[in-house]
């Protein structure tokens, strides 16, 4: 069994109109090498499900997003995600804007193969008012409480970036916080992971093995993508690239800015991308942010 493939192989599996979930959180451990491959492709009309960072922004900038299912989009250190903002303000996106908790509740429901999970989150807000497809349900027990029935968010494909993987699809997330990648993986028909390092077969100590957060049977393909989360963080190895973020933010204010960004960083391919960003020697040593 060998699930090794390339970013191009992953994007070959995508079809117009698919619902795609992204791992990571804001500007943290996003599968950006795969995002860049999507940007180079002609795949379109995607429903993007993400705790959004530049994955959401760049896919919006490139006109790939038909519908966004999200709780936020941000670069954190730069609070407003520039391309999300620009495309959102143009009124061009279909939206399902969810409480962060509802978002993961939807993925959990999909992973558990139940139609919904009950929650209070979202009641008495515009989240429910703007999205009448979100229904309430009354508790069948004596309390009779009215709760929101958060529908399952079923994904066609999940894309996740991890620190270490093997050719069988085993993965390790070595940063302090695994975020919700396990839920994204479980909600999808097919999960593809990119990894900083890929081994033939992991042979771990118990402490290391605890950093595996979802099973390899969920993983359809493994891509070796060193610095594949750049310009987002990949703790504990490297932090976000503030100079790249600033260049990216500036592109949203320039006439033809997105095409220029594509021409400079994306279209020439991942090797050229690394050269443009000082090579993986620089990218892999970017300091982690301190709060």
């Amino acid at each position: 069994m060998n699930k090794l493939m390339t970013t191009a192989d992953v994007v070959d599996q995508l079809r117009d109109g698919m619902t795609i979930g992204f791992g990571g959180w804001g500007p943290r451990r996003k599968p950006m090498a795969i995002v860049r491959e999507i940007l180079r492709s002609d795949v379109k009309d995607l429903t993007v499900v993400s705790y959004g960072g530049p994955d959401v922004g760049m896919l919006c900038a490139a006109g790939k997003v038909k519908k966004l299912i999200f709780g936020f989009a941000t670069l954190d250190a730069i609070p407003l995600e520039p391309w999300y903002r620009k495309v959102r303000e143009a009124g061009k996106l279909e939206l399902l804007e969810l409480d962060e908790g509802m978002w993961q509740w939807g993925l959990r429901a999909a992973g558990m193969r139940v139609p919904f999970l009950p929650t209070r989150c979202g009641l008495a807000t515009d989240v429910t008012k703007l999205n009448p497809e979100l229904k309430t349900i009354q508790s069948p027990y004596d309390d009779g409480e009215v709760l929101l029935a958060m529908p399952a968010l079923k994904l066609d494909v999940a894309l996740v970036h991890v620190n270490v993987a093997d050719q069988l699809g085993n993965t390790l997330i070595q940063g302090g916080d695994p975020y919700f990648d396990h839920l994204v993986a479980r909600a999808a028909d097919a999960c593809y992971v990119s990894a900083e390092r890929v081994e033939e077969r992991l042979a771990l100590t118990p402490d290391q093995a605890r950093l595996n957060t979802f099973e390899r049977y969920l993983v359809k393909g493994v891509v070796h993508a060193p610095c594949g989360a750049h310009p987002t963080t990949c703790a504990p190895e490297y932090g976000w690239d503030m100079s790249h973020f600033k260049r990216y933010v500036a592109s949203a204010a320039e006439e033809g800015g997105w095409q220029a960004y594509m021409d400079e960083f994306v279209t020439p391919g991942e090797a050229a991308y690394q050269d443009k960003n000082g090579g993986i020697e620089r990218m892999g040593k970017l300091p982690l942010p301190v709060f």
């Binding site: 969810l98 409480d99 929650t119 989150c121 008495a124 302090g176």
Partner: protein, 251 residues
Amino acid sequence: MSNNTEFTLAELMIVAASESWRGDGEVLASGIGVIPRLGASLAKLTYAPELLMTDSECFLVEEPIPLGPRGDYVPKYSGYMSFERVFECVWGGRRHAMIGPTQIDRFGQTNLSVVGDYRKPKAAILGVRGLPGNSINHINSFFVPNHSKRVFVEGEVDMVSGGGFNPARWAPGMKQDFMDIRRIVTDLCVLDFEGPDHAIRVRSLHPGVSFDEVQEKTGFPLLKAPEMGETPHPTAAQLAKGNPPGIRAAA
């Protein structure tokens, strides 16, 4: 006494923010942004050592982390609080967060999503983030660095992200009991919702600020709390708390 102690507006607001957590017991204190975070840190370092706090990432600390570059300071972790655990904490109600919404209305409803029309907004901000879940599950306070009618809007906020005390938004059978909106600390005053039917009140005014000025810069009518006075000044002991948590350093 420390009535003659000199202090800055930022220091006054940090102390006012810290008061929000008084009496909460063992809850996770989440101060998002510099002043709320330093307020939470000050509370933990003075009258509320029982508060739980993180390093703003995924570990719990019993000694608040200093702001910014740490130099030789090495955080001492006491536990783990990944984002997933934060949600478990939120849903269990053992948290008091203080964040800075883009808009707040007289019901305590908050907006962090968009300004203007939802479909084609004047300004897209962050998204609703965790506000819907926070608002219905645990204690919330807010921080407003620029008290104005742009923040304290007339009518309802443009996109109700965090719920509040607006009866029209609640259907029969929905549980409101866990909603608890405590304080709003601004650059002019401290507000609460302790008026009749959770009416919003001015609890204290910062030095040199009048009730009329606050009212003029607010898009809805305010009540005066019967005990409304001047916002307590920082004490020398509070100001002496260095970095960590650094209230002087931030001011």
